[in-house]
Each structure stands twice: as structure tokens, then as C-alpha cells.
Symmetry: C2
Subunit: 457 residues, 2 copies
């Protein structure tokens, strides 16, 4: 391994230049105006995968954006890793809050700023460079590896489940490795063994065929923005308890062991509030901040729009009002069931004075694995060797719905091997990735393949 | 009068062409990008006023947009009319809902479509043409007339009160005439003797310094969009009753005589709902639709904005949320007092988990006059002569704050002589003015000056 690690240390600067090219492609899957960029990004990945020495590289069509596939299968008898990542990114608005352009990666104070730096291009690229180091330096990998990169993770991986079902034999492996999460804190590497699921919906209300003058009509016609506010206020109480009937029925309670382990993690609430400019923390009073975000379901308003929102005053009674609302789910909640009871509840809340359009946008199952699994333990050892410190075991509040699919369809345990940091602004302006963690991550990934090669099949 | 009316009938087509030029100027006072257009519109008005024969025409500076002044004072001993109108218009968004461009006036089925057609350029222009007919045909007006046009009516006439106080002597008159309202219905001309007042505010909430990932942070950090919805839901109940403590303290109850007279007006709720695409009417259960909009105060959300509002799904926990909220006031509510109790209430509703910024934007007093006033009765006679039908006496739900100022500072009764129609989309896409009513209005205005000349001073 030593000469492989030397190779990685020698090429640190080149890696950053190459990563900048990857980050320059605005592969925003949520916006149709970026469709061509998304395709261009898939092609860029395929070329890069050929360059580093992967074989059978191709773009596999889906009804949406293509999946990029590549493999190296020259280690018969050794375990096979399925590596999954995504090349699409979140939208960038509000653009004016970015300190440097989101698609011109900029290094400041040892961090690289760009949309996708942490989520997920930077972490995908870390594995590219680990694979490259093995193949260029040793001429081989200690394990077999299959890489799939999707282009729709940020819009709910709508076509990936089908893709996996259809390519079941082709994707057969022993473990799936995903690097799309953050370590617990700077200097506290971690392995994540649980994720929340997601249900994302849009509510549109219409109170009249056209915007009306609020003086002429106000008082006699329902105001859809007001009705929407009333409906939203009945979805959750001030204490963070969700009021949808049946919402908590299947929630798996936190184990005492978990609560105890998490209570010992180096988490500083004062610093957390300061880092994110939070006046006062909110949430369910019986749970700590980590418990609230890792193991408790929640309901969030992701967007609100109605009437006149520009500078100044316009006395309009809006015709329509829109809310985007999502719920994070925990084991064992089912996204389809939750979407249904939410829709039922919203339909019950909507008065007859407005027309309701309810749209289910996407969803994903929550996930949890045993951290005693030998591949998880192999990952723990590689992190200890790469970062010089034993990882802590955590869960995460975010969602990677495909993790459940790998478990259910391919029967694979998943190793979430993330080197992001919690303050790296994934999904927000000024997304960034710590270059120290990136380089540590390239080394740890290279070691990961080595460690996993020794897990008995 | 006959030859003056003949003159008006002869020039119908020219009037429409000239009006189109007036409507072509995008004098949107709410948006700073239109500042130059607003000034250009003031200059256009001044030129037009010179063309029709008014004297002493000038642009009077204010800290905001100029007031256009002109007069004709050649009837010593006769009453003096102060005519007030405004040359600024509402913003046009959402632009995609306009069937023809808002600043390219288009005639369809006897109606002229453009922003400002009804509110207020069309109605100002009606008086221009009535004055022109007198001056071109008779060489004189039967009354003295002073014209003032402001450019900030749609942003709350913020500088007009001071202007009137500062030009008190110059503006001395016997009656103020305003044509900035709608008749009760097509074919039912009306005189308006009451208006609602206005308080307009903006609420901004901040829950974190930047947008956050709703998975990573959801459940532990207040969602300002959700908090805003909760706050708004506590401002008014489902029955339309406003929950701000003290809000109804000064409300003048409806007179039985008014309720009786209004109940006899030809108002068809089924048609009203159909015209405006309203699924079901809303409001206070003890009041009729006319009572709700004319004589009861209300609170409306005029705009809502938070988080991700474009196409698709973005799992963001928004940093900020904004609402524009206005209240329509009725006699004897005081806008300053209401703004204060509203601000107090909002500050009480805001939890410590968010930072609140409360902005008072503008306000205006409600107004009511006696319809027995001789100038009001002169207006009623001129409408009967111009439209062939006695007007009904109504109140209106909208606000023209300056009416109170004319009453308080100059001691003038106001005559609201409006020829718009309630379905003309003032403040909404596809604003229009019925050209039949416009021409009838030019004739009625010409007669109005004649009728008012006979009111004993």
C-alpha cells in the first residue's frame, strides 16, 4: 500500500485541478434548462473513468438521465464492491448569496467552493483517484469494483430503482460503498449506519381565476395564501410534533444504547447555533439535537410562494398559493403509506373555498444497518489508517433512498463512507469541501479496497 | 351643453388613440427600474394638459415622484373644482397571464386592455377630454378647475399629504372630484360615499444565516416558513374574524338604512363567483358579500415567499421567510393605531427561534361622506344625464387615502365619480376599461362641471 499512498501524495495538486473541471459542469437535475449540462457531465464522468483505467465504461440509458457504468473485475475470488455516487447537483439559487460563482470552483483557506463540491462530485472523485492510484501504481485492484453514477439523485432517484431491478445480475456484488455523507465533525471521522427517508409533495391552492384587488374583494373571497398558512399550521405543533393522524404509528424507537453513545459524541450546541446563525434551537422537547435530526421524523416547508413578492407594496388578493412540503422518515416508516396519509390529511384540511392540487414529487425509504457487519468494520479500519483516528458510529438526517434498494433488491450491506463536514453547505449557497479531508479520503478509499479484499467471502 | 356633447361624440375615435399613448408609458411606481418611465409619464400629462387648454401647468417636485398641476380659473364667482387623479400604475406581474402586452393598449369587444386602463389613467383622461370639449367648443369652463395628478398612489401616496399641506392655499377649492373607482355594475352607475382605509406591512423572519439541508438540520432548527404560517394562522380565524387584540374597538357599525339599501342592489352572488372563478365565497358569517367588502375590515396576505419555489423539488430548510400583509380599515379605525397593535401582536407571536423584522410600508385612513351634500347631488344629476339612469349610492372596499386628507386639510367634500366596472382587473392581469363607459364618462364629466357650477357657493 505504501507506494500507492506515495502516488496519491505526489498528485495532490493535479487532483484539485481535475476536480475543478468536474465541478464546472452545471449538472442541475431539477431544472430542465440544464438537461444538456447533465448529459455533458455524464459523458465527462465516462471519459474520466476510462482515463483512470476502468473497463466496460458506458452510459446506460434510463427514462431520465443516464447512469454511468464502469468496472474492473480482474480479482477473481476477491470480494466485489459496488460503488454508487451521483453526478447531478442541487440548484444554486439564491445565486446572490454565493461568494464565488457556483460553477467556477474556487479554493479559499484549504476548502474548495462550488456546487457539488461535497454533494457528491468531490466524494465521487475521491474514489476515482483511489482507483487510479491502484491501477497506475500496482496495475491492479485488490478487489473487483463496479461503479455506477446516477444523474437524478437530487430529484429523488426516480429511475434508479427500476434500473437496479433491470440490471440485477450485472450489478451483483458483495457490498455497496457510498460516499455521499459527512463525517461527524472536523477531525472526527465517522461511519454512518442509518439514514432518514423522504416524502416530498407540493400543495397548490386556487381561490379565484385571477389575482384580485384586495380592497375590492378582501373580506368576501378566500385568500389562498392565508388558507395555506392555516393548513400548514395544522401539520405540526410548536413543539415539533407532527399532527398527521397515524404519522408516528410505525416509528422505531431509539435504542437506549444509541442514545447513550450519541450523548458522548463531541457535540457543542453553542457552536452549532453560532456556525449556522440560529437564534435558538427548536424541536421535540424529549429529544436531543442529534436525536431530533438522526432518529426522529420531521415535516418541513421547503418553499412558499403566493401573490406579490417583489420590492414594495401591491394590494393584491392572490389567486394561487403554493407550498413545497417534505417529511423526513425514520425506520420503519414507509414513504408510500406516509404520502397517502399526508395527502388524506391535506385534503381534509383544505376548505371548499379553494381548489386544491396535491402533487407527490418523490420519496425514499429510511435505512439502517448493523455496524457489526464485516464490511462496515473493514471501512472502520481503513478510516483509522487513512485519518489516524477510530471512527465514531452515527446516523444521519438526510436521505439516500437508493441505499434501501441495494439492500432489498441486491441483498447488499451498505457502507456509508463519507468525508464531508456538516457545515459544508450541501443544498445551500457556498457549498464547499475541505481539501484535507478530500486527500485523506483518497488515501482511506485506497486502503478501503485493500481492507475489503480481506473480508472472507 | 348640446354642442359640447356633439363635440365629444364627434371625437370618440381620436380619444381612444390618444389614450393608448398615455397607457403605453409603464409608470409603475412600486419598482425602481421604472423611475424614468414615471417621470416621462408626468411630462406626458403636463403636455396633454397644455394641449387641452389648461393653464399654469407645471411639475411640482416632491421627495418622490412629481405632482402634475394645471388649472383654469376664468369663472370668478363660480365654484372651484379640485380634480385629483394619479398617473402611476400597479406592477404587471405575473406577466404571462396577460393576453396582450400590458403597455400596448389593445381594444377587444369594446374594451381597452392595458395596465392603468381603469386604474386610473383611463378615468383621468376622461376628465381631460371633458375639459378639452368645454374649452375648445365654448372657449371656457362653467366652473374653475384645478387639476393635480400624483405619481405615487399605488405606493400609498407617501408624499401627497405633505404636498397638500404645503400647497394649502394654492389648492383651495369648493369640492374635490376623483374618478378612481368603479360603478356598481355594468349599466348601474353609482356614487361612492365611503372607502376603506389601509395598513400595509411586511414581515421577514430569519431562522439561520444560510439555507440549510432539510435532512441534516430538519427537526432541530426552526423553519421560518413554518413559523410564518403559524403566525399568519393566528391573525384571522376561519370565519374571517381578525384576532389582533383591540382590532375592532373603533369600528363604526353599519347603519340599518345602509344594510337595507345595499340588500336591494342588483347583486348576483352566483354570477360574481362565476366571473372570478371563486369555488365558494368566504368571510364573516353575519354579513353579506357587499357588507364584507364595503363596511367590514379585513386582513389579507398579499405575498408569501420562502425557500425553493421553482420547478421540481429541493430539500432545503429555508433561512428566511417573508409575508406582505395588509389590512383594510373602515370608519373610524385609525391606520397608525392599527399598525401599532398589529406590530405588537406580530412581535408577540414570533418565537425566539427566529429573528423578526417588521416593516410598516404605508397606510391610509378610511373615509365616508354624507350623500346629501349638494356637490354629491350635482354629481348624481350629471350621471343621470350622461348615462340615462339615476345612480345608486354605494361604498367601496378599496382605499384612496388622500380623500381623507382633502377632507381634513382642505375641508373639502369629495365626489367619487367613477366609471370603472368591478370586473376590470385593476391590480391584476388583463386590466381593462369599457369604452362605452369611458365615452359616457366624458359626457357625464362635461355635464358635471355644468351641474356643479350651479351649486350655491
Amino acid at each position: 500500500m505504501d507506494n500507492i499512498i506515495d502516488f496519491i501524495n505526489l498528485h495532490r495538486e493535479r487532483y484539485v485541478d481535475e476536480l475543478k473541471a468536474f465541478l464546472a459542469i452545471p449538472s442541475v437535475s431539477a431544472l430542465s434548462e440544464h438537461r444538456a449540462d447533465v448529459t455533458r457531465c455524464a459523458e465527462w464522468c465516462a471519459e474520466e473513468m476510462r482515463r483512470i483505467g476502468l473497463q466496460n465504461v458506458s452510459l446506460k440509458a434510463t427514462p431520465g438521465n443516464p447512469v454511468v457504468y464502469g468496472d474492473w473485475l480482474g480479482a477473481p475470488g476477491a470480494p466485489t464492491i459496488l460503488f454508487y455516487g451521483h453526478y447531478d447537483v442541487q440548484p444554486v439559487d439564491p445565486l446572490n448569496l454565493w461568494e464565488s460563482p457556483p460553477f467556477e470552483a474556487t479554493v479559499r483557506d484549504g476548502e474548495i467552493y462550488a456546487r457539488g463540491a461535497a454533494d457528491d462530485k468531490g466524494q465521487v472523485f475521491m474514489h476515482f483517484k483511489a482507483i487510479e492510484a491502484h491501477l497506475k501504481q500496482a496495475g491492479r485492484l485488490p478487489v473487483n469494483i463496479k461503479v455506477i453514477l446516477e444523474g437524478e439523485e437530487e430529484v429523488g432517484s426516480v429511475n434508479l430503482d427500476n434500473f437496479i431491478v433491470q440490471h440485477q445480475a450485472e450489478l451483483a456484488a458483495d457490498v455497496v460503498v457510498i460516499s455521499d455523507s459527512a463525517m461527524f465533525a472536523r477531525g472526527v471521522p465517522s461511519i454512518c449506519y442509518g439514514l432518514r427517508g423522504l416524502v416530498y409533495c407540493q400543495i397548490d391552492l386556487r381561490g379565484s381565476s385571477t389575482d384580485l384587488h384586495s380592497g375590492v374583494f378582501g373580506g368576501a373571497v378566500a385568500n389562498p395564501a392565508f388558507v395555506l398558512a392555516q393548513m400548514i399550521s395544522q401539520m405540526k405543533d410548536r413543539g415539533g410534533h407532527i399532527k398527521i393522524p397515524g404519522f408516528y404509528d410505525d416509528v422505531l424507537a431509539l435504542a437506549e444504547e444509541e442514545r447513550k453513545a450519541w450523548a458522548e459524541l463531541p457535540f457543542n450546541e453553542r457552536q452549532y447555533k453560532k456556525d449556522f446563525g440560529i437564534p435558538k434551537l427548536a424541536g421535540e422537547s424529549d429529544y436531543t439535537t442529534l436525536e431530533r435530526t438522526w432518529a426522529r421524523p420531521t415535516l418541513e416547508v421547503n418553499g412558499l410562494l403566493s401573490g406579490f413578492t417583489a420590492e414594495g407594496a401591491k394590494t393584491v388578493l392572490p389567486a394561487v398559493a403554493m407550498a413545497k412540503i417534505s417529511m423526513r422518515l425514520v425506520p420503519n416508516q414507509d414513504p408510500d403509506k406516509i404520502a397517502q396519509i399526508f395527502e388524506d390529511y391535506v385534503r381534509k384540511l383544505a376548505p371548499k373555498t379553494v381548489e386544491l392540487t396535491f402533487t407527490r414529487m418523490h420519496g425514499g425509504k429510511p435505512w439502517m444497518t448493523a455496524y457489526q457487519n464485516p464490511y462496515v468494520q473493514a471501512a472502520a479500519r481503513s478510516i483509522e489508517r487513512g485519518f489516524g483516528r477510530k471512527p465514531v458510529f452515527t446516523r444521519e438526517g438526510g436521505s439516500i433512498p437508493v441505499v434501501s434498494t441495494f439492500q432489498e433488491v441486491l441483498g447488499l450491506p451498505a457502507v456509508l463512507f463519507g468525508v464531508g463536514l456538516p457545515d459544508e453547505n450541501a443544498h445551500a449557497p457556498n457549498e464547499k469541501l475541505d481539501l484535507g479531508n478530500f486527500h485523506g479520503g483518497v488515501i482511506a478509499s485506497a486502503i478501503l479496497y485493500d481492507e475489503m479484499s480481506r473480508v472472507p467471502k
